[in-house]
């Protein structure tokens, strides 16, 4: 054999020698001696031909291919046999596996020669050799991919490690790298093209090569891969082939970029954007194809779409848009339609950039307004196009959403995801808020989108959206959107209103809403429930009735507005037929608290709404009525509240505590909005905080006469409404229901006199009063504190037999008054105004309640003109009368004609004997009282 000069100039062979070499290369044997050439000699022979016979280069490269194949096979065999060795010899495995030395040398020789060629004439050799090496690597990786012990094609790092430890493949990789690096400045396309082609062919097994090269030349590979793909795309689109053939190359572009995107996402994004903007520049070469190409690319790779979308949208300035529009206007119609469809498809596939994309689209599609800055306004045609895109997008989303649900019924396959909607789901609040701005067109689009979104992600989304709308809507027009949305959705969803209300309640209770929002929400719900004509009102109402206790708790909210709104809502929402007692009581307690609280803060609206609610609850059931009355009376007589009705109790009760900043009452009110009181609302009303003394005084809450009267009036009218006979309208003259009046009476008694000893209805002799001094004093203080009691007694007196049940109070008060007047040394009763007033009220009250005959009852008219002891005498006669004619309900007779109970004193013996004292007092003061004598004729 002629030995080969490894380097330097081409060996000058004579033509004859060259012919011999060709023969021996082709036959694989030495032509002179006939023996077979060794692998190594054969390879050297081929290298010689490569230098001397240019037309044989393809054949030579083909032969070298087999050399590399052999080399790799022997490497892998070595590796396998080493794996089979016992563990003890594993230390040998540390070193590189000793493959056939000849082959390794040959491959290195080949590398030397080829690299020399590449360096000398890169333009001619690099494309050829890079294609060869890449293809060879592709073949090798595919061929051995399924070999036992090979790492799986997904474990890229292991594969890379394995192949790079193999001499032959490393040589190939080095050769390719050299090609690429020499060509990188002039035209790397040739090299990258081969990479793409091979990647298409041997895709999963070949990834390690792409990864290695891509990481070594990221920017080049990215831009080149993109531009090669573009070229290919152009070539195919010009011949208008079917798109099937286009996919593989694009597919590998996508695969490679996808692989690189983890580390070099930024460069990819920049590159794609650069291509896009360049394509818009007038006169660029591949202008036409770039846009469809990029779209196609994005369609194939969601990750690419994700990386690019956001920045793309940001870079679409009005000027760019008009360029784009001009560019597109030159395209043929069907191509344009294709592009549009693709755009729509992509838009519906966008996930991370979806909100920005949407905003951009809507902004651009919005009709121009006066406010738009002239420079930033987009061209009309651009706007029209965008408008079209928005509508098409909505249409396509609609198809996807409805098609999805239809398909689910047919098969069990999981429904197809729509990334755009998935992404928008997280931006529901913004969407709602934007829609409620009611800008032209935009809110219609958004409304449609919202509807689709709700149907798409049906369980959580629709209620959330409704809840948001209910929370955010400020006007009835805005609220109308919520109703519309419900109308759209209700056909395809069941229990939507229920879910929405549940969510609203949860929102309120989680404290997720500000007071203002909560207020708005409650008002909106009220509005909706009241607008009966819509189905939504009915449904919401029914849903609300499940959450009465929750709204009841809202009555104790710290914000009066919220309380009031909740109250109104409760007023209008239908009550269930049977409200559980616990809930009922809770509501009653809360609303009565609200009533008094509103009085405290002088909110007449609150008072009226609370009154409405209480009245409503009162009418709900018998137990309700009882509870309401009880609560009202108890509340009205409570120490904290007596001031509201002209009493002065609070000033006496507690000493002021300097430095206390907050009132316990208020603290408790705050607690009330979250804590469910199990007992009476007042039961947690502490006497004070341990360590800081008694409860601090309400500070100088001076309540004027007017307010007192007003409060009193509202309370009394409420009470009387509550006690009114069923069927009687408000505003008419009210006849009290005796039962209710009795309840009222009992309650008053209980409140004013908790002590039940000797509290039977019948009166003992006057002397016995001495045994009940303490209780009587308590009763006296009670009256003293709250003048309201008299009014209450008056009210009770209206419902006739009821006042009997207050007999303890009357007796106690009368006893203390008797004692007072007995001890009084004043000359005139007018010197003790309160006692005078109390005596008058007491007697007149008893008269109204028909415990005294009219003649006796009229005596109070002259009290102010008498001396104290005279008053005592008169009162004694009252006592005597009552003791003799006990205040028992059975004395009253039901008069069917008037539907009331009344008492006929004429049948109870002669009252005249009790009139003696009256008459003698009249006589004694006849100069002043003569006028009145007619009032005391039996």
């Amino acid at each position: 054999m002629i030995s080969l000069q490894p380097q330097g100039v081409t060996p000058q062979l004579s033509p004859q020698e060259l012919s011999l070499q060709i023969k021996s290369f082709l036959s694989g044997s030495d032509p002179q001696h006939g023996q077979k050439l060794s692998l190594r000699d054969h390879a050297r022979c081929s290298l010689l031909l490569l230098r001397c016979l240019p037309s044989a280069r393809h054949a030579v490269l083909e032969h070298l291919r087999s050399v590399f194949h052999d080399s790799v096979s022997s490497f892998l065999n070595e590796r396998d046999s080493q794996d089979c060795l016992p563990q003890s010899s594993s230390s040998q495995r540390r070193g590189p596996p000793p493959s056939t030395p000849g082959l390794d040398e040959v491959t290195q020789e080949v590398q030397k020669v080829l690299e020399e060629f590449i360096k000398l004439n890169p333009r001619a050799w690099a494309p050829l050799i890079s294609a060869w090496s890449i293809e060879l690597m592709g073949q090798l990786s595919s061929k051995h991919a399924n070999r036992q012990g090979m790492p799986h094609s997904t474990s890229l790092n292991e594969l890379l490690q394995l192949w790079m430890s193999c001499g032959a493949t490393r040589v190939l990789m080095d050769i390719y790298t050299l090609c690429l690096s020499t060509m990188i400045d002039s035209c790397p396309d040739a090299c990258v093209d081969a990479l793409l082609d091979t990647s298409v062919q041997h895709s999963p097994h070949f990834d390690w090569v792409v990864a290695h090269i891509g990481n070594s030349f990221p920017s080049t590979i990215i831009s080149r891969v993109l531009s090669c793909g573009l070229k290919d795309f152009c070539a195919h689109s010009s011949t208008s082939e079917t798109s099937e053939k286009r996919v593989p190359k694009l597919g590998s572009v996508v695969g490679i970029l996808g692989h690189l995107s983890s580390r070099h996402g930024n460069s990819i994004r920049q590159e794609i954007l650069r291509m896009f903007h360049e394509s818009l520049r007038p006169g660029s070469k591949q202008q036409r194809a770039t846009l469809p190409y990029l779209l196609q690319l994005a369609a194939l790779s969601p990750s690419l779409l994700g990386t690019v979308c956001q920045d793309l949208v940001d870079s679409l300035k009005p000027s760019t848009l008009s360029q784009l529009q001009q560019h597109c206007s030159t395209l043929p119609r069907d191509e344009l339609d294709n592009m549009l469809n693709l755009c729509i498809h992509l838009a519906s596939q966008t996930s991370t950039g979806a909100p920005r994309l949407l905003r951009f689209l809507l902004d651009t599609a919005m009709p121009a307004s006066v406010i738009t800055t002239p420079g930033l306004a987009v061209h009309d045609s651009v706007r029209d196009a965008c408008d079209r895109i928005v509508r098409l997008l909505l249409l396509s989303l609609q198809k996807q959403v409805y098609g999805r649900t239809g398909g689910r019924a047919a098969s069990d396959a999981p429904p197809k995801a729509v990334p755009f909607l998935d992404a928008m789901r997280g931006h529901l609040p913004e969407l709602c808020a934007e829609m409620l701005r009611l800008e032209r067109k935009r809110h219609l689009w958004l409304h449609q989108l919202l509807g689709l979104l709700c149907i798409y992600s049906s369980p959580p989304c629709a209620p959330e959206a409704l809840c948001l709308l209910l929370t955010l809507a400020h006007s009835s027009e805005e609220l109308g959107l919520a109703v519309q949305l419900h109308a759209v959705l209700s056909s395809s969803m069941q229990g939507l209103a229920q879910a929405a209300v549940t969510r609203c309640v949860a929102q309120v209770h989680a404290g997720a809403l500000t007071d203002k929002r909560a207020l708005q929400l409650l008002q909106n719900m009220t509005l909706i429930v009241q607008s009966e004509e819509s189905g939504m009102g009915r449904e919401v109402g029914t849903a609300l009735s499940d959450y009465l206790p929750d709204f009841g708790q809202l009555l104790l909210h710290s914000n009066p507005g919220v309380c009031e709104a909740a109250c109104l809502l409760l007023c209008c929402c239908p009550l269930p037929s049977s409200l559980p007692p616990a809930q009922l009581h809770l509501l009653i307690r809360s609303s009565s608290f609200l009533l008094f609280h509103s009085m405290h803060i002088r909110s007449s609206a609150g008072v009226s709404s609370a009154s409405r609610l209480l009245l409503r609850l009162c009418k709900a059931s018998h137990a309700g009525k009882k509870a309401v009355l009880h609560q009202l009376v108890e509340g009205a007589l409570h120490q904290g509240n007596v001031g509201l009705f002209g009493g002065d109790g609070m000033k006496d009760v507690a000493q002021k505590l300097e430095g206390a900043s907050a009132s316990l009452l208020e603290n408790n009110n705050h607690l009330g909005s979250t804590v469910d009181f199990s007992g009476s609302v007042w039961s947690v009303f502490h006497a004070g905080v341990i360590g800081s003394g008694l409860k601090p005084e309400e500070k100088d809450r001076v309540i004027g006469q007017v307010e007192c009267t007003e409060n009193t009036q509202s309370l009394l009218s409420l009470l009387s409404s509550c006690c009114a006979k069923n069927g009687e309208e408000d505003g008419q003259l009210i006849t009290l229901d005796p039962e209710a009046a009795k309840t009222l009476a009992v309650t008053i008694t209980e409140c004013a006199c908790p002590d039940v000893t000797n509290s039977e209805l019948s009166w003992p002799p006057e002397e016995h009063a001495r045994t009940t001094v303490q209780r009587d004093l308590l009763i006296y203080t009670c009256f003293r504190k709250s003048p309201l009691l008299f009014l209450l007694l008056h009210l009770v007196a209206q419902g006739c037999p009821a006042l009997c049940y207050c007999s303890v109070l009357l007796r106690g008060l009368l006893a203390t008054l008797l004692a007072y007047w007995e001890a009084s040394r004043e000359s005139s009763t007018t010197d003790s105004p309160w006692h005078l007033m109390a005596s008058c009220e007491l007697v007149s009250c008893m008269g109204e309640g028909q415990l005294l005959p009219p003649a006796l009852a009229n005596m109070h008219e002259m009290f102010s003109l008498l001396a104290p002891y005279e008053v005592r005498l008169l009162l004694l006669s009252v006592w005597d009368f009552v003791r003799a004619n006990g205040p028992f309900p059975q004395r009253f007779v039901f008069q069917a004609s008037k539907a009331i109970f009344s008492r006929d004193f004429t049948r109870e013996g002669d009252p005249a004997k009790y009139m003696d004292i009256v008459h003698s007092v009249l006589h004694r003061n006849v100069d002043r009282l003569g006028l009145l004598s007619g009032r005391f004729q039996v």
């Binding site: 100039v9 000058q12 033509p15 060259l18 230098r51 016979l53 240019p54 083909e62 004439n121």
Partner: protein, 493 residues
Amino acid sequence: MMSDIRHSLLRRDALSAAKEVLYHLDIYFSSQLQNAPVPMVEKGPIELLEEFIFQIPKDRGSHSKRLTAMQELQLLEILCNYFQDQTKEPVRQVIFSSLFSPQGSKADEQRMALLGKLTSMAVAVCRLPVLECAASWLQRTPAVYCVRLAKALVGDYCGLVPGSIQTLKQIFNVSPRFCCQFITAVAALYDMSTEELIPPHDLLEMIVSWIFEDPRLILITFLNTPITANLPIGYLDFSPLMGLVRWCVIAPLAYRRKQKAAGGGPVVEEQNLYSKLHLSVLQGLMVLQTHLTEKSLYGRLALILFDQLVPLVEELGQLCEELNPLNAEQEMELALDRLAQALQVSMATGALLCTRDDLRTLCARLPHNNLMQLVVSGPVQPQPAHPSLTPAYYPHIHTPPLGYPTLPAHAALPTHAALPTHTALPTHAALPTHTAIPTHTPIPAHAALPTHTALPTHPALPAHAALPAHPALPGHPVQTFMPGMTFPFRPMR
């Protein structure tokens, strides 16, 4: 018969089928040649070759089985050996042309590829028969295909493997005829219209060395071919003369343009080569004159057509305009000088047949150049010195012996060639060319017309003075001009 052969071949593997088809066709054509001097190449054999050599499947269903690169190399070797072993020249020619003549079918791609490789291999292993066949092929084939062959060879030998140009260079000693055709094809390929179409250095150097060694090289094809007086359009010229003149004239400006784009330094070495080439071309023209007179073709056959000059001059004008702002006066001067010299010499030697008026209108747009001015206006002497000669054309100056002419003009030319950057003065030193021929007849074209009509061979010619060079009627490929030489293969040595 062809179908019998086909059936017997269908079962063979690709290589042995190829071998056998050659064998069969060899026999077939040999027998045909015994019957007729010029065998008819029918469709049958060509289809056989397409199917079994170029692997184009005949049936639509079967897909083409491409040969591997290895098999292809073997096929090349088989072909090479076949042509080497076939001693009968006509058979070789017929086989070669039925193998490689473009048929306008889809096999043409493979055909050209294989031809390129075969020729390249023949160059490497010095197979004279193949090269001779290829030379004839280049003559018979439309220029577009010739250019492709040239491209393939240039690709293989100029630059791919360092130093391999030497292999190509030695062909000069093996087949000058092939060299001549190759140069013609290369000149057609690299027309210097763009930067890529400037000939590579190695190639240029090789061609210059060939021609410089023997300027007659460029005339070989012309001398060995039966002259069909009108060249079919789309084929290569008889000689590379026009192409080389173009190289020499355009080169200074083309390199300047390339410099401007690439920003490289001046390429003195290359320009020296072009000077050398220019000299050789002029010498070749001088040789041509002797041959023309020898064959009494002088004034009747133009090797440089006026029609070919028009685009050259136009391109030169454009280049001048383009490069004018770049201080390229020197290069422009040089290009115009060379053009003027080439025009003058080719007119003088009878290679170019045209009147001075034509020349004047042609060169009117070019920038001013003293030498050109002289050439266009011609000698001032009114009296024809040799009234016996046809006055419309330049007579030869001297009647030199068959060796190289030793003209005064010649003495001036090397000076010029050696000084590519010469100033105006050396150009004027070249003036003796004209002063040395004072006896020329500078007769205007119209004055020439009556005399011209008197010529016995062209009784009814139109008024164009340049046209007498095309006597044969178009569309008649009759080879009657030199009737004795039917298949003239007469290598120079």
